[in-house]
Amino acid sequence: MLEIKGINSFYGKAHVLNDLSFGVERGKVVALLGRNGAGKTTTMKSVMQLVVPQTGSVAFQGADITRMPPHKVAKMGLGYVPEERRIFTDLTVMENLEVGRQPAREGTVTWSEEMLFDMFPNLAERRTNRGKELSGGEQQMLTIARTLMGNPSLILLDEPSEGIAPVIVEEMVRVILRLKKDGLTVLLSEQNLHFAQAVADRVLIIESGIAKYEGSLADLQANPEIRDTYLSV
């Protein structure tokens, strides 16, 4: 569904991604693991074309999306949930959802505000609150809900468990599994191995923008040395 082939991305002169290639199959949850600064967020942004890879290509559902403006990438059904959440703090919860709204798309769930409030009951009570009045966990839910309003077929979740309370992390797990059941494809980046273990089918470990390991979660668990080399702090 998503094919990344040999991308090289830069910030100014800093070479962040180095010939990175991997794919995500439809209906799977793939976790991108790696330490801080490994290039996880840049990978997400490069898929979304918020950072344009200098070489290499990104294909989504068979179509080349490299160098496409981000709004067109989103319109093709790629949903992006940024690491820093980036909710609109001056807008209410309802208004934040409105910004994400896109027309229904064939083959994906068409979300409404009410369906999202069912999934995130906390947000339902805060419809008219402004973004800045929400807690960190609520903001994290809002940013996911906002992206779902675009009815994506693949969702990019950048560090969904970062900086939120353990009880909310559990809720995140529940949400991701529910989305997977609905047929949504998920690419998520994580530092928290336990979180990845709870949701992912496959993992990709990157370090310094280079893919170091790709395989099933079971294989990773069977190879503790890989885990120790690339993930332990």
Partner: protein, 619 residues
């Protein structure tokens, strides 16, 4: 009491058009982050277009329909400008966008002259609202009351649009985080165009609605510009309620000012602005600018380095040519070159602030004109000889810069720029309205060089020595430890602070130094012309310098000088045409879009590509 109320009503009526125009500017800034200098031009177009419609549409229906149509037409013109001029430069550093909008001002000025002629247009009175009503014995024009009644509807419609519609929600979201809105599938380009349409339509409405009160003339664009900036800054950039409150505040104050302090009406507005900004740096309803939001986009700055062998040879050859020129050239060439040299020093001093300090001053004319007026006043009232006046002029300008800089440097980014503009306008209005001292509009005349320097050739040499000396000094300072500290403060204030640099202090000194250098240019200017008029302090003067720095190239050390020489030279040539503003405006827009590195920057890239100069990575 009746008089008091009548005054307030007049103020409220005046606030009506001001609010419409200012809210348009505020909206455009909020979403696109572009300070649209051409906003006054759209206001002027609104007045002219409305007038033309009123000529053909009769009666009360015709009158109000004309106003609506004027808004619509101006909005569409805004779309054209946005798509042709601004779209190509959204990714450029924000200062290029300013210069592009300045090009638009020039183009619109000449197009208006072409279509409507040079004579002022008397606005038609509103049918059915011609007379006055007596309120507590005081006459109040009926049209004023209509305007007061109209404004809440406009404000309500805007409020509804911004808070209740999807477009409004997207606009507010984009005001906060444009990239995220794009990542959610919204095409920003069309959102920008939509906002530009709305903002320009509001400006057009404002222009048309004030027709019965003020008519239409070709000076409207600049005349309202400072007022709307003041309103937007006092209210807070991007805030609509702020724009309304500030418009009312300024208009009411202005009406009372006319009655009680007629000498200070122009200055009053800026005094209020300065006071508000000192207590509320981001305006009454504004939000703090997020750091980095206005950071430089594009390639990182190159490190500056001393001139190489080739460059030194070229400069020496140029200086040699300038030295022997009086033997060959006629006096016209000498006068032109004197003008160019003075302008180059002025531009180089702004370049020093802007390029090295990252301090975008919109009011650099204050120090050029300030130096010029200081010299002229000394000669007129104290009979000071030229030599002394030329020493005191930079001192006076530098001192002014130090005082103004102290206040301005409390703010950063767009607010800093606006504050420098306000101070320049404050000085201008003082000079303009304090006729007893400064001669007001008639200026100060009969200020000639000392006997020994009165010949064209001698004065040419004098100007060359001082101007080139000043430029070398600016360049030298750029390479000195102080210059390094200044650039460090520009690139990362926090990191510079952490290294022990008192960034505010460094910037303050730089502000004063650049002011003094502009003061030398101003002093020389007076003696070369023999007179001085308030227009040397005008916004247009400050913009001249800004444009020159951008045309020359902000990121190139020679940018100010190259741009100054190019523009002043080109102006001498193209002002011979009747519609030279149109040409100049198109030229500016062309350079901004095609050669965003400026003349010096583009020349350098070109020289690098053919191997004349070493590239940075090879050096």
């Amino acid at each position: 009491m009746g008089f008091f109320i009548a005054q307030i009503l007049t103020g409220l009526a005046n606030a009506s058009a001001l609010f419409m125009v200012a809210s348009g500017l505020s909206l455009i800034f909020g979403v696109t982050r572009i300070v649209n200098f051409a906003h006054g031009s759209f206001y002027m177009l609104g007045a002219y277009v409305g007038y033309s419609f009123m000529q053909v549409l009769p009666g009360a229906w015709g009158f109000w329909t004309s106003i609506l149509l004027a808004g619509l037409v101006v909005g569409v013109i805004g779309i054209i400008v946005e798509m042709l001029v601004l779209r190509p430069v959204y990714k450029a550093p924000e200062l290029f966008q300013l210069v592009a909008t300045f090009g638009v001002i020039l183009v619109i000025q000449d197009l208006a002259l072409l279509v409507w002629g040079a004579d002022d247009v008397l606005g038609p009175r509103a049918p059915g609202l011609k007379g006055i009503i007596r309120i507590m014995g005081e006459p109040v024009p009926k049209y004023d009351l209509a305007l007061i009644a109209l404004t809440p509807f406009v404000a309500f419609a805007l409020w509804w649009l911004i808070t209740k519609t999807r477009m409004g929600i997207l606009v507010r979201a984009a005001t906060q985080d444009r990239e995220m809105v794009g990542a959610l599938g919204v095409n920003q380009a069309w959102l920008f165009t939509g906002v530009f349409f709305l903002g320009c339509a509001l400006a057009g409405l404002g222009g048309a609605v004030q027709l019965p009160k003020g008519g239409a003339d070709l000076l409207m664009d600049f005349n309202i510009l400072s007022a709307i900036f003041v309103v937007v800054v006092i209210g807070g950039m991007g805030s609509l309620p702020g724009a309304y409150v500030a418009a009312v505040l300024i208009s009411v104050l202005n009406v009372f000012g006319v009655n009680y302090l007629p000498q200070s009406t122009l200055a009053l507005m800026f005094v209020v602005m300065v006071v508000v900004l000192i207590f509320r740096p981001f305006g009454l309803f504004g939000r703090e600018e997020v750091a980095g939001e206005h950071g430089q986009v594009g390639e990182p700055e190159r490190p500056i380095k001393p001139a190489g062998q080739t460059a030194r040879m070229i400069v020496l050859a140029g200086l040699g040519a300038l030295a022997v020129l009086p033997l060959l050239g006629d006096s016209f060439t000498l006068v032109l070159l004197t003008d160019i040299a003075i302008f180059c020093l002025f531009a180089a001093s702004l370049h020093f602030l802007l390029g090295l300090g990252g301090l975008v001053s919109f009011g650099h004319a204050a120090y050029f004109g300030g130096g010029a007026y200081a010299a002229a006043l000394l000669v007129t009232y104290a009979g000071t000889p030229m030599e002394l006046a030329l020493i005191l002029a930079p001192l006076a300008a530098g001192l002014t810069a130090i005082i103004f800089g102290w206040v301005c440097l409390r703010l950063t980014g767009v607010y800093f720029a606006m504050l420098t503009l306000a101070f320049a306008q404050l000085l201008w209005s003082l000079v303009f309205q304090w006729g007893d001292l400064t001669g007001g509009d008639d200026g100060l005349v009969d200020i000639w060089p000392s006997e020994w320097a009165s010949g064209t050739t001698t004065f040419y040499y004098l100007a060359m020595v001082l101007c080139i000396g000043g430029i070398i000094m600016l360049r030298h300072t750029a390479h000195s430890p102080f210059g390094y500290a200044l650039r460090a403060a520009r690139d990362s204030q926090r990191q510079a602070e952490a290294t022990g640099i008192n960034t505010k202090h460094v910037q303050w000194v730089a502000f004063g130094f650049a002011g003094a250098m502009a003061g030398i240019a101003g002093g020389l200017f007076v003696f070369s012309k023999g007179s001085i008029f308030p227009n040397e302090l005008e916004i247009a003067r400050s913009f001249d310098a800004l444009i020159v720095v951008f045309l020359g190239g902000v990121k190139t050390l020679a940018g100010g000088v190259v741009g100054g020489a190019a523009l002043e030279g080109a102006k001498d040539y193209i002002t011979r045409f009747e519609y030279w503003r149109l040409l100049l405006g198109l030229l500016i827009i062309f350079v901004v879009i095609v050669a965003p590195d400026g003349i010096a920057g583009t020349l350098r890239k070109w020289a690098e590509s053919i191997g004349l100069m070493k590239r940075e990575d090879q050096a």
